[in-house]
């Protein structure tokens, strides 16, 4: 499988008079291969948008190597620009134009047949509102228009930065169906989103970024499996006695509400055997599989102190790095 997007060691520092230097992306790597639907996750301010901007030549990277469809970016991006559809953060459109005219203009500028405009408007569900001014569009409608603009070129690679921003539940589902059908037709998709359930549903691969660095990457199921603690939810009549029995069998077990959470289980039949032998019949035995959300929160350290409002720059760095954070004290 060939690499569609390759990023190696991308660094980008913003300099501003007010806040001085701010490292937005700090040695980030990303590999997206042909045919993938690749989720790009990270907390607010972790550098997703900056990465995409650098990839598309909108900001100048300090260092790092990037290629898009095999061409070094941004130097030779023009060679493949016709095959890359992208939206970076909710794009702004000229409010005076109708949706149709906006797309027609882009189509002309990019040498795409104007007949394609109607097709993409239909595709994103804006066909009946194409003749309204963009100024009068709702947030979700503007977002749909943005996606339409990315689809206009009939791209081989689609880069979507938070496409679901502002979409209603039906819109989110339509977006999901759209991405699936695009993927089925062979389009490679890189999509960033904060709706993790959505990413889990549509993406086969995922890369997680935190504070400008990659903290996880790979197939979604593998990333999830890597964080599987082999826990099971167990319901029995006498939870306290069950805990003692399970501890004796060298399993971890805690009472959580009316049920038990049993950890370190490599084979669930062990649980029912240990309890059943002592006359405690298991009423429910459910594996507690990690979902993307819990893995994300664990990796990015974004949910450590539920009672303290978390600040955007508080996310974790990749494991293996010694982080001394004076603000957080010793428990960090």
């Amino acid at each position: 499988m060939s690499a569609v997007i390759e990023i190696e060691g991308l660094r980008k520092t913003f300099h501003s008079m007010r806040s001085g230097r701010r490292v937005a992306v700090d040695g980030f790597d990303l590999l997206v291969e042909e045919g993938q639907v690749h989720g790009f996750l990270g907390p607010n301010g972790s550098g997703k948008t900056t990465t995409l901007r650098a990839l598309l030549g909108l900001v100048r990277a300090d260092s790092g190597r990037m290629t898009v469809l095999g061409e070094p970016s941004p130097e030779l991006l023009t060679r493949v620009a016709g095959q890359v559809g992208a939206i970076v953060e909710s794009p702004q459109f000229f409010g005076n134009f109708t949706g149709y005219r906006t797309l027609r203009l882009l189509a002309r500028a990019g040498g795409v047949p104007v007949s394609r405009v109607d097709e993409v408007l239909e595709l994103v569900g804006l066909h009946d509102r194409g003749d309204d001014r963009v100024r009068g569009y709702s947030l979700g409608m503007k977002q749909r228009l943005a996606v339409a603009s990315a689809l206009l070129k009939d791209p081989r690679l689609l880069i979507l930065d938070e496409p679901a921003n502002g979409l209603d539940p039906a819109g989110i589902r339509e977006m999901r169906d759209l991405m699936r059908s695009l993927a089925a037709s062979g389009v490679t998709v890189l999509v960033s989103s904060h709706i993790l359930g959505e990413i889990q549903l549509i993406c086969d691969h995922v890369t997680i970024i935190s504070r400008g660095r990659r903290v996880a990457t790979g197939r979604v199921d593998e990333v999830l499996a890597g964080h599987d603690r082999h826990e099971f939810l167990v319901r029995v009549a006498e939870p306290e006695r069950a805990v003692e029995l399970l501890h004796a069998a060298e399993l971890t077990a805690v009472v959580d509400g009316g049920a038990l959470v049993v950890g370190g289980v490599s084979d669930p039949t062990v649980v029912s055997r240990v309890l059943g032998e002592q006359g405690l019949w298991v009423g429910e035995l459910t594996p507690l599989r990690p979902d993307l959300e819990s893995v994300f929160l664990e990796l990015t350290g974004a949910y450590e102190h539920p009672s303290v409002p978390r600040q955007v720059d508080d996310s974790s760095l990749p494991q293996g790095e010694t982080v001394i954070d004076l603000d957080r004290g010793v428990d960090a």
């Binding site: 901007r53 100048r60 702004q92 882009l106």
Partner: protein, 337 residues
């Protein structure tokens, strides 16, 4: 080519551009209407009396000159209270820039040959401002609204995109300025023919009017490019407006004062406005009393120096070209957020 077409559509759809065009048409209509209302075709009697008055005025000049000469030669006593210059050539009718003509004695009659030049100056001033504001707001609004970013996602060639924008702007402004000035002059020509006097419309007249027109159009293009360049450098329409206002106040007013205080020689050379005037009129004379200081020529030192159109154009081109080049260089490397 497609890019230019798309840009053309964007430019013409800008509210601000539309507003400025409406303003132009409005100013045009108002001047034409008031001129028309305040002018009438002179009767034969009026014309005759005007001719007579003009002839008399010319005779008066002649007489004054003669009297001055006589006084200098001593053929006349020098004790009348009438004033005469020490150099009689100053009142020599032949050396006057213009002599009284009948049109001067026809109140309420619009004479095209006399008025065309000032009218054209007014139009050029408007178009220069128009070009500057449109140039600045066109790129400024696009930079702040993210339109440029959208376009660059489509065509990731920054230089091409910016050049297409500048080219479209200059082309549009030029066509608009040409159309406006031709329509403008034609209207007033018709007014002169029907409700006033055409005046002396000889080849010399048209040549000089054409020259002002051509130089004015160049000025309009330069100011458009300047507005575009400053707004690009400052990422904002208001950058261009601010720079213009700051330049006018700080340099043209404040700087001029300072230069006067420190007695800098030929201080007018440091003012862009001098060069604009020199270019538009084909040359300009400026006064500097220092030129006469220490000169033994005495009364014959006039203290004037001239700026011709060529160096003036060079200065204007250098400023505009420099800023435009800087804008392109900066746009090439800048982070577009």
């Amino acid at each position: 080519m497609n890019l230019v077409r798309a840009e053309l559509e964007r430019l013409s759809a800008r509210r601000f551009v539309q507003l400025m065009v409406v303003l132009l048409v409005l100013a045009f209509a108002v001047t034409a209407a008031t001129t028309m209302a305040g002018s009438h075709k002179p009767t034969a009697g009026e014309l005759n009396s005007a001719r007579a008055q003009a002839a008399e005025a010319r005779r008066d000049l002649e007489a004054t000159h003669q009297e001055c000469l006589n006084r200098q030669n001593g053929t006349l006593p020098a004790d009348t209270d009438k004033y005469f210059p020490s150099d009689c050539s100053e009142v020599d009718p032949i050396r006057q820039e213009r002599l009284p003509i009948p049109a001067d004695f026809l109140p309420g009659v619009f004479t095209f040959a006399e008025q065309a030049r000032p009218l054209l100056y007014f139009l050029i001033a408007f178009l220069v401002l128009f070009g500057f504001l449109v140039g600045a707001s066109y790129i400024g609004a696009d930079l702040t609204s993210g339109g440029v970013v959208n376009l660059l996602l489509w065509r990731p060639r920054r230089m091409t995109v910016l050049a297409a924008k500048l080219g479209t702007l200059l082309g549009t402004v030029l066509v608009l300025a040409l159309l406006a000035s031709v329509a403008y002059l034609a209207t007033f020509w018709v007014i002169g023919q029907t409700a006033g006097l055409p005046g002396r419309l000889d080849g010399e007249f048209w040549r000089s009017l054409g020259a002002v027109h051509g130089r004015g159009l160049v000025l309009v293009l330069l100011s458009s490019a300047l507005g575009f360049a400053i707004a690009t450098l400052g990422r904002h329409t208001s950058a261009a407006l601010g720079a213009l206002a700051a330049y006018a106040v700080v340099w043209e007013l404040g700087g001029r004062l300072v230069l006067e205080i420190v007695d800098a020689p030929k201080s007018d050379l440091f003012m862009v406005s001098s060069h604009i005037g020199a270019w538009l009129n084909g040359g300009a004379r400026f006064y500097d009393e220092q030129l006469c200081r220490g000169s033994i020529d005495g009364p014959y030192c006039e203290g004037f120096y001239t700026v011709t159109w060529a160096p003036a154009l060079l200065v204007l081109l250098a400023i505009t070209g420099g800023l435009t080049a800087a804008a392109f260089a900066m746009f090439r490397r800048r982070d577009l957020i």
